[in-house]
């Protein structure tokens, strides 16, 4: 993507999402700090990948950005208009924005109503937004959408259970496309699919993006897939964005200790390379987001942690062109 066309479509500033947890009401109220002060921008036409392990808040971030979850605090600006701002008390009605922002879910069967036919599922989105005034237009649009995602037009009369996982995911994609959105959050769209089907869906998402100029936020735990599809990648750990860079830059020159670990742990389908390389093994598990560690959230597992890391939370700063990292060590090394 050339520099001139880089127009910000979405801006997120210090976004926070806490979920209350049940507990002893007499004592302090506890929260799962799922997303902690994340700031990032998504440019028009790009794919921003989001990787991290389970429980790192990547799905919550994706859902909070399109306000399927109400943010706890922060600011979201879509195409120049603030749609949420906790300081200025802005919280717009989302219905008009749902036409622009859509989501594809991880579990294809769980996200389709089993009692509705595929035609009804896709048509519902059209009805809500009143996009097709006549019945004929509606049927044509549904047929066109099904063809676009590689399904047969006759499939409109079938129910979700009659499809395989890969086909169900295609229905999910057709539903998201129905309202002609600009921005789609792809929340682990392929991890539930078989290996040989995954690449079909990845290619389809790439084609749709090229044809319609879509912008994606692509969330997945599989770094190889994210690297393949994304222009830029953000790495999350325990609710925090720890590194953000162009995907080649991030995979070849990671700067954050956690990113280095994550990349070294990705299995390579190459016996000689994978046996020769040095894996960085972390001690222990991810701490609980209810009682996250003080300071840098990674310090409990980081081999380079210092006293400063234990006390002060690092902020995301630019260390190379477009390469952001949140780590105290980077600051010291210049």
């Amino acid at each position: 993507m050339s520099e001139q066309t880089r127009k910000k479509l979405l801006e997120v500033e210090k976004l926070r999402k806490y979920f209350p947890v049940k507990g002893n009401k007499l004592l302090e109220k506890k929260y799962v700090q799922a997303v902690e002060s994340v700031s990032l921008s998504i440019y028009k036409g790009e794919t921003l990948g989001l990787v991290g392990e389970s429980g790192c808040g990547k799905t919550t971030l994706g859902r909070t950005i399109i306000r399927l979850y109400e943010p706890t605090s922060g600011r979201i600006v879509y195409d120049g208009t603030p749609i949420y701002d906790s300081e200025k008390n802005i919280s717009v009605k989302m219905l008009p924005y749902r036409r622009k922002m859509q989501i594809i879910f991880q579990d294809p069967s769980g996200s389709l109503d089993p009692r509705m036919t595929v035609g009804e599922i896709i048509g519902e989105a059209l009805d809500i937004h009143g996009l097709t005034p006549s019945k004929k237009e509606r049927t044509d649009r549904i047929r066109h959408l099904l063809e676009e995602v590689g399904l047969n037009t006759e499939h409109a009369n079938r129910f979700p259970h009659e499809f395989s996982g890969g086909q169900q995911q295609r229905v999910g994609i057709a539903r998201a496309l129905a309202v002609d959105p600009e921005f789609i959050v792809c929340d682990e769209p392929i991890s539930a699919l078989d290996v040989s089907i995954q690449s079909q869906v990845v290619n389809m998402l790439e084609d749709l993006q090229a044809n319609k100029g879509l912008t994606y936020l692509f969330i997945a735990h599989d770094v190889s897939v994210v690297r393949h599809i994304s222009n830029r990648i953000g790495v999350m750990y325990l609710g925090c964005l720890v590194e953000l860079a162009e995907s080649h830059e991030l995979c070849n020159h990671p700067i954050h200790p956690y990113t280095k670990t994550l990349l070294s742990a990705v299995p390579l389908p190459d016996p000689i390379k994978s046996r020769a390389r040095q894996r960085i093994l972390l001690e222990g598990d991810i701490p609980s987001p209810i009682n996250p560690p003080s300071g840098c959230r990674f310090h409990t597992r980081c081999p380079y942690a210092t006293d400063r890391c234990r006390q002060e939370m690092p902020v995301l700063k630019e260390y190379g062109p477009g390469h952001f990292g949140a780590c105290h060590l980077l600051e010291q090394n210049g």
């Binding site: 040989s196 770094v223 390579l268 190459d270 093994l281 972390l282």
Partner: protein
């Protein structure tokens, strides 16, 4: 490989599920041999029969599944002729299994220590309580669980995912089995935890000289840990060979396409993925010819008519595809 050095020999194994809709040939005539101290990977998509095959070795096949043909020889004895009591003795002692989801095979109402020592006392009636406890603690330490004494008295829910998988490995190895079957042991785990568990399994394999059958759908995982690999598709082994042969010189179209279709972290250029078109076959109505035929780009006429035979394509490297017989077929005028 010499015959007498084989630990496990599976010959023409056939397993079918008799469902109301008809017979599902989950495993359709597979053969392989496993030597002592060898790690074999079985790779396949869901529904390829890789787990069913493993369950029939350990005798845990559930209704309506039945072994309908072939033999499974373990150190020269046919397991299919074992009585239930013999099988019970055999399980845990000589072969054990770890599963994808540790929570399904750890009992939530017993402590980890209780479950570990139970495995010992079950198979060795002479062992005393103290001895069993000591051995269990040793085992937990061996799999990298800190504070083993304290952990012994904890329940599975107090363990994290990675720790549970470690506890399960400890339980599987506590009777020093000769064969360990690992069914997608790292699929439910995060990559950094997966790396820990793989490293642990490699380490234990070296220390204990256990043979391992490693079942997975992730080609990246088997590249690291396995000596040999069998690739399964729709109930059959389509290709089998040494790990380097499979990754650097794949012969079967399915293996080749599978390797091309996955995005790789070590690639420099963003080439478009080459997907395998179509969907896996319906096992209720398998095609007459090669199971991969309908999705294969190099499919010939004969592929749709007849199942392909196994061809020896290199030392210890076999592949089931008509392409290897192309020259002979052309001579006969068939193509």
């Amino acid at each position: 490989m010499e015959e007498n050095k084989l630990l496990l020999k599976v010959k023409d194994l056939k397993v079918s599920f008799f469902t109301p809709a008809g017979e599902v040939k989950a495993v359709d005539g597979i053969s392989y041999a496993l030597g002592y101290n060898e790690v074999m990977g079985i790779v396949g998509e869901s529904g390829s029969g890789k787990s069913v095959e493993a369950y029939s070795i350990i005798g845990l096949l559930q209704n309506p599944g039945r072994v309908i043909g072939g033999s499974i020889e373990f150190e020269g004895e046919n397991l299919l002729e074992y009585t239930p009591e013999q099988m019970r003795q055999f399980r845990g002692n000589k072969v054990s299994m770890i599963f994808q989801n540790p929570m399904t095979c750890l009992n939530p109402v017993y402590t980890i220590g209780n479950q570990l020592t139970e495995a010992l006392t079950c198979h060795d009636k002479t062992i005393s309580k103290e001895e069993a406890r000591k051995k269990a603690i040793e085992m937990l330490e061996l799999v990298g669980i800190n504070n083993a004494e304290k952990r012994m008295n904890q329940y599975p829910h107090e363990f994290s995912g990675g720790m549970r998988q470690r506890a399960m490995i400890a339980m599987a190895l506590i009777c020093s089995p000769k064969l360990l079957i690992a069914d997608e042991p790292t699929t439910a785990l995060d990559v950094t935890i997966q790396a820990q568990i793989l490293e642990l399994m490699k380490d234990l394999q070296r220390k204990e000289n256990t043979s391992i059958i490693f079942i997975t759908h992730n080609l990246g995982v088997v590249a690291d840990i396995c000596d040999r690999i069998s690739v399964m598709y729709a109930g059959r082994i389509v290709e089998q060979g040494k790990v380097n042969d499979i990754f650097y010189d794949p012969q079967h179209p399915y293996t080749r396409r599978l390797l091309q279709s996955i995005p790789r972290l070590d690639e420099e250029d963003d080439e478009r993925l080459i997907p395998i078109e179509g969907t896996p076959i319906d096992l209720l109505n398998p095609p007459q010819g090669c199971n991969f035929g309908p999705r294969c780009t190099e499919c010939m006429k004969i592929c749709l008519r007849q199942k392909p035979p196994l061809a020896q394509v290199g030392e210890g490297h076999i592949s089931a595809c008509w392409l290897h017989f192309k020259d002979a077929l052309e001579k006969e005028g068939e193509k």
